[in-house]
Symmetry: C3
């Protein structure tokens, strides 16, 4: 009988994961449209944005092949995101806030899942935070670099993006260290990352810059 809740969690986790992949794929395909790329450029950028962070994570922990190459859904969902963006990009641009909100959800899911995988592979606490954040921001860094832009997470004019991810990953690690890790920890952490990111966008919170 205890399998049902676990299965529910599994299904939920999978749905959230694919949602994160979808919205990251949308952000890659949208940037490709803005850069006047063709449908191949859209597809490549959607796949790399959606799966790049997870592939880097899996290469570092030595999971061969990376999850992106095991479950076929991981590769197909960015294709779906590309197709949707190809036909509906003017409308998506208009709901840009929605995209940012979904992207915040993807960030929360990815950094938390990356942290959990890191802990499961025996990485130390600081290492797990770094790997979790890398999973969350890696795809976006690859997306911007390939499109010829400075990765937005590095720029001073971007609202807080890595900071929420760092906090969310740190909470997952802390609950594990204090032996109070349960299903609530990743969920609450992902929600916190999401809320902090959305609040940063809403209130224009930015990370400090050194004095010039």
């Amino acid at each position: 009988m205890p399998q049902h809740p676990v299965e529910l969690t599994r299904t939920l986790e999978e749905v959230l994961n694919l949602t994160g992949i979808f919205v990251f794929g949308i952000s890659g395909a949208l940037l490709a449209v803005r850069k006047n790329f063709d449908i191949i450029g859209m597809t490549v950028l959607a796949e790399i944005t959606a799966l790049g962070g997870g592939v880097i994570r899996d290469l570092i922990i030595g999971a061969h092949p990376p999850a992106a190459f095991t479950d076929i859904g991981y590769l197909l969902v960015p294709l779906l995101a590309t197709a949707v963006t190809f036909f509906a990009h003017p409308r998506i641009e208009r709901i840009r806030i929605a995209v940012l909100v979904f992207d915040a959800a993807g960030l929360g899911l990815f950094c938390v899942s990356g942290t959990v995988v890191a802990l499961a592979h025996g990485l130390g606490p600081v290492q797990a935070v770094v790997l979790g954040v890398t999973t969350g921001i890696g795809g976006g860094i690859l997306r911007d670099t390939l499109a010829g832009e400075i990765p937005f997470v590095l720029r001073a004019d971007s609202e807080l993006y890595a900071v929420p991810a760092i906090l969310g990953s740190a909470i997952v690690v802390l609950t594990a260290q204090l032996h109070v890790y349960g299903p609530a920890a990743p969920v609450l952490s992902a929600v916190l990352v999401f809320a902090l990111r959305v609040a940063s966008l809403r209130f224009g919170w930015r990370a400090p810059q050194p004095r010039p």
Copy 2:
């Protein structure tokens, strides 16, 4: 007696592989000349262009060390391409069409060999196509990104490059799925990729772009 044909195939495969590495190395060294890099810049760009796609493939399937670090020829051939380009680059520029044709051959060989390796490592059909295409286009993406250019495979003004690779990889996978895979499958697929790429250059075929 059945060893002879196999050995012939092996040797042929090796020759084709090294040819692909050589022409990809030329394309890297040539771009370095155009960007006014020095001989170190030429060498680094030649090596990364020629071997980058295969290294990414091997990291993903978990082949340690990557093939580029096992057979010494893989590292030396891009050096040869650099030396040739260093002294003969004005003449190579004049036979630019020849370089494009050789590059098309390299693309065919690399995407087919990447697909075959992926299938041999138990990847699924879609995953094998993605890994094959990655092997074919990965080196060029790294080359352009390091040289400060938008990867040409992403751009709308580039003739079909990834599309032939996708078709070629798909045919290899299809023949394997239908249990009709034999020596003819990779050869014909590579030839098809080559022919489609050359035809795209000749007739200016391009991938569709979303409406602005």
Copy 3:
């Protein structure tokens, strides 16, 4: 009793390693300041510059997780470099020559340690040189690419950087091939790389460029 010298060497090696990581971290954080990034951009660039070359090396030889994710010092030292740069960057800019000198030391240490690791993993002589040089220059290539610059090691207006690394790695490999490898080999090689790099800066030595 023979443990003492070994332990001393170990400690010394660790100190030198962390020094190399620190100065590479400084160079990443400084570039971030020049590009007007915020503290997150500084941190990401410091970590990737300091650890990127070693992570690439470990992915290629199949060391999972990479050393950067095992010893916590590796991740913390770039944070320290970021903090120092955040508050003292105008003063660091003024001692720019000191940074270049330390960076030369980091280059020597990294390329030698990369070569030694490559030999220990059974790579061939040419492969070990390539992996050693990659370890030395990889972090800087990632730093410049992410910051939207052409990697300075590729550019013709940069003083010799990869050439000293190639020579240093080659000497390590040669002593191993001639069975005269001892503690002196890596130390002298690293010193040679350092001296050649500093001399290149002092006397403006550059690598040849192809005729235009």
